[in-house]
């Protein structure tokens, strides 16, 4: 069939105007949506109330199905465990021996640490968790890597707070509702975590790659200090994440590029703990003096 020569829906004026008005509405709607996106880009915490309400309304559905996550996530590993039992056993025995030796060393170091800290009268006040909760969902169809926690503002969770599991760092809270909150995972492209190499303390920035892995960027140029199997812990720089939380283990080193895998797999962890911001001053607005000094320096 040949296409009609005109795009008029017929001779009815009403139908013609209706069609035209429809397109005007659609284009105006697109412009409005782009405006909303602009607001979201400039101020990611905008529409907090609306997004929080949506989180609250949808979180109970997810919380009910948490068992499925464990089931689906566990299928692959339990099948392979069955077939690799003998070799895994030998490997684990070897590792156990090695870690026993390390444990003795660590005990000695711990004692020495305590003694030195007592000498310096250094108080290390480690804050307790604000909330211990579960991960009930994630953004599995979007390029962003976020997860949903089943605890929100009513438990004291606020945007910016770090989230970890016993295995390692999970991410930080970006949106909260009353009973649910959204977490930006460390594997998201917008997540930058200041880390250091557990072995020798080399500082680096861990940036997510969006596919469940992390890219490590060192602050020094030239030699790549990372080796496969290196463990990275948070350095506490920036004041958001507490120091010495395990973050990732290096899985591949190719020239300057280093790829690491987060130690806490959000699909496996049992509990996620929300902690207060390590140094609250890091989140506070700048003092008027600093603001003025910065403006003068900028001019």
């Amino acid at each position: 069939m040949a296409p009609p020569s005109t795009r008029r829906p017929g001779f009815s004026r009403r139908a013609q105007y209706g069609l035209f008005l429809g397109y005007v509405t659609a284009v105006a709607g697109i412009l409005f949506a782009v405006l909303l996106l602009g607001v979201a880009i400039v101020d990611p915490t905008g529409f907090r109330a609306l997004k929080g309400a949506a989180l609250d309304a949808t979180a109970p559905v997810q919380a009910g199905g948490r068992g499925i996550v464990r089931f689906v996530g566990g299928i692959g590993s339990s099948v392979s465990n069955y077939f690799l039992a003998a070799s895994q056993n030998a490997e684990l025995k070897r590792r156990l021996d090695a870690s026993r030796r390390r444990l003795v060393q660590a005990r000695v170091l711990e004692l020495e640490n305590q003694r030195l800290k007592a000498l310096l009268k250094l108080g290390q006040d480690e804050p307790g968790a604000i909330a211990v909760t579960r991960i009930v969902g994630s953004s599995f169809d979007s390029p962003r890597r976020t997860a949903v926690l089943s605890a929100g503002g009513s438990s004291g969770v606020r945007p910016g707070q770090p989230v970890r599991s016993p295995e390692g760092l999970i991410g930080r809270v970006i949106e909260t509702g009353r009973w649910a909150s959204r977490v930006l995972l460390v594997s998201d492209g917008a997540s930058n975590v200041p880390v250091r190499l557990a072995r020798d303390g080399t500082p680096a920035i861990a940036t997510g790659r969006g596919d469940g892995t992390i890219e490590l960027k060192t602050l020094e140029v030239g030699k790549n200090p990372f080796r496969r199997g290196d463990v990275l812990v948070t350095s506490g720089v920036g004041g958001l994440y507490p120091p010495n939380v395990p973050v990732a283990v290096v899985v591949a080193v190719q020239g300057d590029a280093t790829v690491a895998k987060p130690l806490a797999d959000p699909s496996r962890v049992d509990y996620a703990m929300v902690f207060p911001v390590f140094q609250p001053a890091a989140e506070a607005p700048l003092s008027p003096q600093t603001q003025r000094a910065l403006e003068e320096a900028g001019q």
């Binding site: 697109i30 949506a33 009910g64 599995f140 492209g189 596919d211």
Partner: protein
Amino acid sequence: MSRIAGSGRDVALLSLRRSWVPVASTIAAALLDLLPIVATSPLVPDFAYLVLVAWRLLRPEMWAAQVALPLGLVNDLIAGHPIGQSMALWTLTFLALDLIDSRAGWRDYWMDWMFASIAIAFYTAGTWAIARLMGSQVEMAVLGPQLALSIICYPIVARLVIALDRWRLAR
């Protein structure tokens, strides 16, 4: 319910079903985002978009372009996308398909799949670009598996939509 509407109530119910099944099925597909799946890389297709495109290609006259705006807002809120992302991308898709429909006189199964694939590629690239503007510097290759899976899933979704359409219009 018998095949022939026996009362005014039946007629009202049937017409309600006729007009609300497409909207309800799109929102139901958006609600799939709430499944308690925790994935570390994007792999699962955005079923709401697939259902939307399938309805649009099956029944071009049913929805005006601006219908995509509220549906997009619902999807943004449910999936936790930045508000405006699905609103803009879905409405742009509808306008583009209107343009295609005014040029191409007819479509067959393979052309439907091709247009749907182009639309899915546009949508995936759009979400990637918006994520980049929001500060998430990920490579586009990360979205490759999701794009391929979405294109492969489209005929299945289209089948479901056709079945729903037959039930919707049954009398």
